[in-house]
Amino acid sequence: MGKPNDLVQGTLDLLILRTVSLQDMHGWAIAKRIQQISGEVLQVQQGSLYPALHRLEQQGWIQAKWGESETGRQAKFYSLTAAGRGQLEKETANWARLSAAINLVMTEA
């Protein structure tokens, strides 16, 4: 089972960007969404999640807005910026190339 520490930093960034590209989300929801979609394989711990979120925000790839959560409490919602969208495309292409290459090695060798 994949632990958060096994997630390479770049991979976590990619997952976060991908997740918030679908919908504005707060930290908790992002972690939950990644966990659900990966079929409970990828568990993102807060210890990695929030530093990554703040780093992406500092770099201007995502932006934060305070809004009301489903429970009616104020929460910080992250959304993708234009620059973040570009970054996501680039990272996605990178990832596709890398995983295809790894697949090739694993199946052909």
């Binding site: 210890g47 703040h54 305070w66 929460a75 620059a83």
Partner: protein, 879 residues
């Protein structure tokens, strides 16, 4: 748009950091609440849900730290935190902080001040365009004694006409003017120069107002014109441009002011206020003479021509002149040149560099002292540091804090030092007006950058030394150190001792250098001038104007003046001479001895020359060895007697009696009637032969009035001046000084550097003593319980005293040996500045060693005595 968003983010993180922190807490809190809610939904009760959520959440403080670490400006936040911690730590130890800051301030201040002076005077180029091509031109002296002799007017004329290496060259001669009052102002003596009209074009300078001289102004037949300095124009004429083309009275003559020079212009020096064309000002025969060397010359090399090529060019011309005038033995054979900057600052270079080296030593000592204090503090805070390390404080983090502390100290010291330096530079500029380029000295951006660099360097140096003593392992060991009776911090003590030894060594070098200069200065001040210097008053007179045109008018004035001065109550004797001993070279003149066979062609004799009145020798206290002084009744053409001094007799009449022989000077023959004692024209030079001629011949129109009294001669200054005013109210009297004051003025360069160096040496001695005292006190405090046990077991108090004392003296002894060895090298460097003192003077070295040991012993005595007085019971209870 992305950069805009990033800037916005940066601003937000910089100015709303607290808010961002609160939001982060809120965000994390929300996450926790969500987790609890989920746990509750999964069926846990409230408490269980909360605990499970907290468990999975991990260490909230760590999470917060990690997240904040991704923010921008984090480095600034950490820096400010370090500053805050550093300031707090220093405020907790105000005594330590004040001492360290003061020490740093003195060290940095002295260095910044000296650097300012060295940079402005020695390193900055002259303020003229293309100043690297400006050279000062000289002739070799005829005897070859000096390569840099002043230039004769006739030689310069030929140089200028025939050379092909210089785009322009100019001649500069000294001049002093009496500027008469225009509207009731007092007459004033103003320094100026007589220069060829090409001076400003050669330097590449334009007048700020009006025009430069033209070739037509620079002729004997031209109308008198003058250029004025900016400061004189402002001060004396209120900066009124209407002064242009108006006339002023200089030495009773009418001069037209044609221009004002820029405020920054100071050539040849800052005291020059007036410039007038030399070919108009000086007699035509002087300007044509090939043998009367009395002018400075400056040339601008053509592009692509080296200084050596320029000199070779002029030397060919000089050589040709020499060969064409073999009958004139005073024509030089060769030319010489040096860069104008070197020429202007040459004499100040060595003293300034020596002082800079000395301040460097002081700063190093200051740094070592502060490092020493920091090491002591680190030792005192050993436990605190150990606990922080044990709790996971990073090594870098602790190191950064220590460095920050020492950087703060040196920054505060640097700020204070900059103030000190500013004061010192202002003081120097106002007290040393005659130093070359003194007007160019000011604190600028480069000096500020130098100060910042110095602060960083000192902070890092002192901080690193103290930080290097702490090792992680030992830190943890020191937690166990609290056991009674263990002695601690051996490494630190060893390090502090080595620092002290270096400090003492540097101090010894400074002390020896200062001691040598001090001895040399005392030698200089006590060297025998050859005359009375106590209770002798001198004042300069310059007789100009229509009523002193005839020799008879001059002689009558001198005779009347001396008669009336001698009649004043309190005056023991009075005389008049062109220059008194110690007043300078003044001038020399070629002569021949009538009774001797003529000299071979191309050879000549010359000696210092003075015109003096018959009573001068008695007034000045120059002993009459044989014969008598001038006959007062022989005046004007009848005045055909001469007096020579013993050195003259010895050199030019080695095996005969000079009395009764005749000297020929300017085709007039004088009989030698007396031989007087030798005198020095300057304190630092051995006596030179002097020939004295009668003042009453009426050829000299300026000189020094000498008045001797039984006591308190200064009281006579006013009556004498009043008397002179009485005789001629337009006659300016200047430089009213006692002999002692005049000699003090003539040795003020030596006095200046000696005083400063002695002050620096004293300062470092004090620092070294404080260092010794501190280290030994610390060692004794560390070993209190050990000493207590020794005493309790029966050690004699004298034994304890001796042991502790020797312990403290050891670094001083090491330092002394190392310092004495280094001093030998330092003494060699200042050898040329020493007068009558050997660089390895045993008395100075001995005195320094004794002083140092004495001071070191005193510094160690107090802690050693305290150790020997320890009450063993108390000592054993201290832990």
């Amino acid at each position: 748009m992305r950069w805009l968003a990033r800037i916005q983010m940066k601003m937000q993180m910089l100015f709303q950091r607290g808010k961002a922190g609160a939001r982060l807490d809120d965000e994390l809190q929300f996450h926790l609440e969500q987790q609890i809610a989920e746990n509750v939904a999964a069926g846990m009760n409230a408490d269980e849900a909360r605990f499970a959520a907290l468990r999975s959440f991990g260490n909230p403080a760590l999470l917060r730290e990690r997240t904040r670490a991704t923010w921008c400006w984090t480095w600034l936040e950490l820096f400010l935190r370090d500053v805050r911690i550093g300031v707090r730590a220093l405020v907790r130890a105000p005594g330590f902080a004040a001492l360290a800051i003061l020490v740093m301030a003195l060290g940095i201040g002295a260095n910044v001040a000296l650097f300012t002076v060295v940079r402005s005077v020695l390193l900055n180029p002259l303020p003229y365009p293309g100043s690297d091509r400006l050279v000062a031109l000289y002739e070799h002296s005829i005897a070859g004694a000096s390569l840099y002799n002043v230039v004769a007017g006739g030689v310069f004329t030929e140089w200028k006409k025939q050379n092909s290496s210089y785009s322009d060259m100019a001649l500069v001669g000294e001049a002093e003017f009496n500027l008469s009052g225009v509207s009731g102002q007092l007459p004033e003596k103003v320094r100026g120069v007589a220069c060829s009209w090409s001076l400003l074009p050669t330097l590449g300078v334009q007048p700020a107002l009006g025009r430069n001289f033209t070739a037509a102004d620079d002729q004997h037949s031209a109308n008198a014109t003058v250029l004025m300095s900016w400061s004189l124009w402002k001060r004396r004429f209120g900066g009124d441009p209407a002064i242009l083309n108006q006339t002023v009275h200089l030495d009773g003559q009418t001069y037209t002011v044609i221009g004002i020079l820029p405020a920054w212009f100071a050539y040849p020096d800052a005291s020059t206020q007036l410039w007038t064309p030399v070919y108009h000002y000086k007699p035509a025969e002087i300007m044509k003479s090939l043998g009367a060397h009395q002018f400075h010359a400056v040339g601008r090399l053509k592009p692509g021509i080296s200084a050596a090529e320029g000199v070779a060019d002029l030397t060919v011309i000089s050589r040709r002149l020499h060969d064409q005038h073999l009958d004139n033995p005073f024509v030089s054979k060769a030319a010489m040149a040096r860069p104008l900057l070197d020429d202007m600052v040459g004499e100040t270079r060595r003293p300034l560099y020596i002082l800079l080296a000395a301040t460097g030593c002081v700063l190093l000592i200051a740094c070592l002292n502060v490092a020493n204090l920091l090491v002591a503090r680190a030792a005192a805070r050993r436990k605190e540091l150990a606990i922080r390390t044990a709790l996971g404080g990073g090594r870098m983090r602790l190191l950064r804090e220590r460095l920050m502390e020492s950087l703060l100290l040196s920054a505060a010291g640097g700020a204070l030092g900059l103030l000190l330096a500013y004061g010192a530079v202002q003081w120097l500029v106002s007290t040393r007006r005659e130093m070359s380029r003194v007007d160019a000295i000011h604190i600028d951006g480069a000096v500020a950058a130098f100060t910042v660099g110095l602060v960083m360097l000192c902070g890092l140096f002192a901080g690193m030394i103290s930080s290097l003593t702490t090792k992680d392992k030992q830190l943890l060991l020191s937690l166990q150190d609290s056991a009674r009776g263990s002695s601690a911090g051996r490494t630190q003590t060893k390090l502090r001792r080595s620092l002290l030894a270096v400090e003492v060594g540097l101090t010894v070098v400074l002390l020896v250098s200062a001691g040598l200069l001090l001895k040399s200065y005392q030698r200089l001040r006590t060297s025998e001038l050859g005359c009375t210097t106590e209770n002798v008053l001198t004042m300069n007179l310059q007789l100009f104007g229509s009523h002193y045109r005839q020799p008879a008018q001059l002689v009558n004035f001198y005779a009347a003046l001396l008669e009336r001065v001698r009649a004043l109550p309190g005056v023991k004797a009075a005389g008049f001479v062109e220059a008194v001993p110690g007043q300078g070279y003044w001038s020399d003149e070629g002569f021949s001895v009538v009774e001797h066979p003529p000299m071979a062609q191309g050879h000549a004799q010359f000696a210092l020359i003075r015109n003096a009145d018959p009573g001068y020798f008695a007034a000045q206290g120059i002993p009459l060895l044989r014969g008598h002084s001038f006959d007062p009744s022989r005046r004007l053409d009848q005045a055909n007697q001469t007096v020579v001094d013993a050195a003259f007799a010895k050199r030019y009449f080695p095996n005969e009696d000079p009395l009764g022989k005749h000297l020929k000077l300017d085709d007039k023959s004088y009989q030698i009637v007396g031989i007087v004692g030798d005198t020095r024209y300057t304190l630092a030079k051995e006596p030179e032969p002097v020939q004295y001629y009668p003042l009453f011949a009426g050829t000299a129109n300026n000189g020094t009035l000498v008045i001797r009294s039984g006591s308190d001669v200064e009281q006579l200054a006013l009556p004498v001046q009043r008397l002179i005013q009485d005789m001629d109210h337009e006659l300016p009297v200047s430089d009213v000084l006692t002999m002692d004051q005049m000699l003090g003025k003539s040795t003020q360069d030596e006095s200046f550097i000696t005083t400063l160096l002695v002050a620096f040496a004293g300062l470092s001695l004090l620092l070294a003593a404080v260092g010794l005292f501190g280290v030994l006190s610390y060692v004794v405090a560390q070993r209190t319980s050990e000493i207590g046990i020794r005493i309790a077991l029966g050690a004699q108090r004298e034994q304890v005293l001796r042991k502790v004392l020797l312990d403290g003296l050891k670094p001083a002894l090491f330092g002394l040996v190392f310092g004495l060895a280094a001093s030998v090298g330092a003494a060699r460097l200042i050898r040329t500045m020493l007068y009558g003192t050997q660089p390895l003077d045993p008395a100075v070295f001995g005195a320094v060693a004794a002083t140092l040991l004495l001071v070191a012993a005193l510094a160690c005595m107090v802690p050693a005595w305290r150790a020997s007085r320890l009450n063993p019971m108390q000592a054993l209870r201290t832990e």
